[in-house]
Amino acid sequence: MRELVAGAMAQARVVYALSLRETRTRFGQHKLGYVWALLEPVFWVATFGTMFLAIGRENAAGMELVPFLTTGVIPYNLAVGTADRVSVAVDANKSLLFYPHVQPLDLVFARVALELATYVIVMIVILGAYSLWTGSFEIESVLMTSFGLVLATMFGGALGTVLAGMSVLYPVVQRIKGPVMRPLFWLSGIFFAANMLPSNVQEWFLYNPILHCTEMVRDGYFAQYHARGASVGYVLVWTLALAFVGLTMERRVRSRIQLT
């Protein structure tokens, strides 16, 4: 038991040190590093917001536009963005594996932690600025909202681990993952909510686990929205299955990761 605790402490130390380092290398290059993380979600919120206004809609299923779009962009980024960054986590940090207790999975955990922290902060900044501007702030359930965000991140991390393992065996994965995942941008509920879809279409869209996460976040955030189709179990099954495959692959390809 004592050894287990000591081991967990050591690993926590490594992941903490790696996250700090990732923060410096990801944002520290430019003075405006952190602003860039904010800019991309803001850009999409602005773009879709303008489009909604252009067709004369000021809300979506009773949800105000800016919070509605923000609660769509953030879970999407947490899922797909994390998957993308985790899939290259080992490649980008190979030199660190020379420190014996830095293992490939620590690099994965560090990136997952940093993505989650980054986008939660981005979300707080956008929605905080918006409620200062409108003068009112309402969130139905912080717990449910956070749960949706964490679930999206876990799904992204598990998917990224599988992609990372596959790209050790087939480097071509890194080239095709972008085009293959791109449709998710249009399918994950950034600019629509599942309840707005006709039921026969909704059924198909709900095969996408990211949409479930977006729905949960919105259900938690908006008092007036109830995500009827969202299922925690469905996302968890996907996440656990991907994590199982990902971790198995990590064992399998570990010896193939060349250090130099």
Partner: protein, 216 residues
């Protein structure tokens, strides 16, 4: 202490599997320094990485107790876009060592002046090596794994490195790999010869030298 049990490591090459370590069994007790001789390509660096845990064996187990260093003399493990100081902080954090002590010690030992605060990618290879060596001396290890570190810097710096090791000999062990008999003579209490995937251990330098020269 480090113990190898039935450790096997092979690499895939175009000509099929190349076995580098073949069912190795060895025990490296605390506070006893070993010098391991091997020709180029005998698997010295692989053995060192496996001892340190940077690489996993294909079969067998490695048991470690105490703090074991990364292979010293290797200037990797640094992130080029971070400064020398930031890299030291990172290493201190993962080893749970005192940050200020590690940074201060490395700064003094490495003698790279202003460069300590500049990105590592701007360093010359000599400066990198000085930083790497200083950092590894700043953290108190029980076992130091050394990969031909003596090639670092000018003769004054080399002497400093040897003194740093000498002052740790009381409480720490050094496992050094080299293809030069002279190098291991300076550091080791006991000797070993790595050839054909096997490791033989000797108490006597003359015996290992004779066998090594025969093989060469």
């Amino acid at each position: 202490m480090i113990e190898l049990r039935n450790v096997t490591k092979a690499y895939r090459t175009h000509a099929g599997m190349h076995v580098v370590l073949n069912r190795l069994n060895a025990t490296f007790p605390d506070k006893v320094s070993y010098g391991i001789l091997g020709l180029n390509g005998a698997g010295k660096s692989t053995l060192l990485r496996i001892l340190g845990g940077a690489e996993q064996p294909d079969e067998g187990r490695v048991l470690r107790s105490g703090r074991v260093s990364w292979p010293i003399g290797f200037a990797g493990g640094f992130n080029g876009s971070l400064s020398g100081e930031e890299n030291c902080r990172f290493a201190a954090r993962i080893y749970g060592a005192d940050l200020d002590h590690v940074v201060e010690f490395t700064r003094e030992f490495a003698e790279i002046g202003e460069y300590f605060r500049m990105p590592v990618r701007t360093y010359s290879s000599g400066m990198r090596a000085r930083l790497a060596f200083g950092l590894s001396m700043a953290i108190d290890f029980d076992t130091y794994l050394v990969d031909e570190v003596t090639a670092v810097g000018d003769s004054r710096f080399r002497k400093k490195c040897q003194e740093a090791f000498a002052s740790r000999r009381e409480r720490a062990a050094v496992i050094i790999v080299s293809h030069q008999i002279k190098t291991i003579e300076a550091y080791a209490d006991r000797y070993a010869l790595l050839r054909n995937g096997e490791l033989e251990i000797f108490d006597d330098l003359d015996e290992v030298s004779r066998l090594y020269e025969e093989a060469a």
